[in-house]
Symmetry: C2
Subunit: 261 residues, 2 copies
DNA sequence: CAGTGGTCTAGACCACACT
DNA sequence: GTGTGGTCTAGACCACTGC
């Protein structure tokens, strides 16, 4: 099937590389886009084994090296995970190592305290109409259905984080406080398996604030305890905004750790 | 024809790949290490053009593709910068685009305020003996010579950041408040040209705090204004700690922006 | 034009995991 | 052993820069 003929040279530009300059895109970027489409379309679900590099090369009519470069980039973006000898898998939030990729609050003295998952308490989960502000950040229309989830995370029995989470109602139809409470997995793992939504990228804006009366009560802190306010936008494939989360963190025994490189 | 020419096989392990398993390291990683050594030794200085991929391939007796992979990684770590048609250069903090790689405080409303470099005021610059704490983080001995620099950064005439910076005395011999004040370049650019130190990587720990009396005075804020405390460790080549910096940021009109991916 | 990095291919062999 | 990803090579051509 894979005869090497001069005609194969014509196959070197199979996708859209015929024109010279206008919006030139390397072959491996086009392959990357095609793989991304399959991921978004759900052809391969989180945790699945995707076809081998040679299979994909045959499917897309390019060399294995070109597929490799496309997959390399997707792996560096944590959309795929390579495992030598086994294959390439769709990344999932259900893995232990990935649990804290988005939660950057670390204990000041690791080892002295438990590193395990936090204790989670759902305050409430309501279906509401989006305000102008919520609609804007989630790219919805004002009045569209949205879910508001509010919860408290505790480490070592100390309430440390209060979060106010907004989600598009259409995508998360059927979300309830009970479901959130019963599920012991990370929230993003449940989003994957129950709603087919995988968070791929996020952006956080940090500020120092003083707590509202409600937060004082929920976190058991005084009104003059400074807190770290973390406003997070999470995106799924193709940079679609999927979650708006406003958290306030106690930072008296923990800190937000950030690597700059 | 799949004849394996023994001579080619011998050339496949030119550096130190003779043994099978013990501490195996890919060729391109070894090349990367050699290039890193040249960078650290100052063979090529920030801003310099380094030899072409083919020259390096000849020097190290490997193929150009292997050198390419080594340089790719160094470029992704911002140690080198590739420019198509021109060559590969040693990265430098003197470039505009790199100016704010380490300063993540962004205006809430970009465009409405000036984006230019902040106005910098040096409070003082003293040569002191390292306390136990300073010695520990900078990997020195207690009592070793260190510099303490304190300064205030203002944006649009609003004092916004106070920083307390600690540097190893031996490496930064000759540093003075006057020199810091007169130099209009970013501090890290001066470190490169005047002291041969290039900051490569950093780590920040963030907390919310209330200001000390001194900070209240310097930043013109009240004692109950929450501030973002940013503790930064900066490292040069081979992860040697070279700077300890404790900053407090006003976050009423700006925020600390962080991309999670 | 020559020289550089950027892309693509084809084939070989190595390291690892499963059966 | 077979199949996977991981490394390395060699050679071709493209795109950009500057003479």
């Amino acid at each position: 099937m894979n005869a090497t003929t001069p005609l194969d040279n014509a196959a070197n530009q199979p996708v859209s590389q015929g024109l010279v300059s206008p919006s030139f895109s390397p072959l491996y970027q086009q392959i990357k886009g095609l793989v991304l489409q399959s991921l978004q379309a759900g052809e391969w679900k989180p945790g699945d084994l995707i076809p081998s590099e040679f299979e994909l090369a045959a499917r897309f009519k390019v060399s294995q090296g070109t597929v490799r470069k496309a997959i390399d980039e997707l792996a560096k973006e944590h959309l795929l995970v390579r495992r030598q000898g086994k294959g390439t898998f769709v990344a999932t939030h259900a893995e232990q190592q990935v649990q804290f990729r988005f939660l950057k609050l670390k204990p000041d003295n690791p080892g002295a305290v438990s590193q395990g998952p936090a204790e989670r308490r759902i305050i409430d989960c309501n279906r509401l109409r989006a305000s102008a502000e919520v609609a804007r950040v989630l790219m919805l229309r004002t009045g569209d259905s949205v879910f508001q989830v509010r919860r408290v995370l505790s480490f070592d029995d100390v309430p440390t984080i209060f979060e106010d989470i907004w989600l598009p109602g259409a995508t998360f139809k059927g979300l309830t406080a009970e479901r959130l409470s019963k599920d012991t997995r990370p929230m993003y793992a449940m989003f994957e398996s129950d709603f087919g939504i995988r968070m791929v990228r996020a952006q956080e804006r940090l500020r120092a604030v003083l707590p509202s009366d409600e937060v004082c009560d929920l976190l058991k802190v005084s009104t003059n305890t400074p807190l770290l306010k973390v406003e997070r936008m999470s995106f799924t494939y193709h940079d679609s905004p999927m979650e708006w989360r406003i958290g306030v963190y106690r930072t008296d025994t923990r800190h937000y750790l950030n690597e700059l490189s």
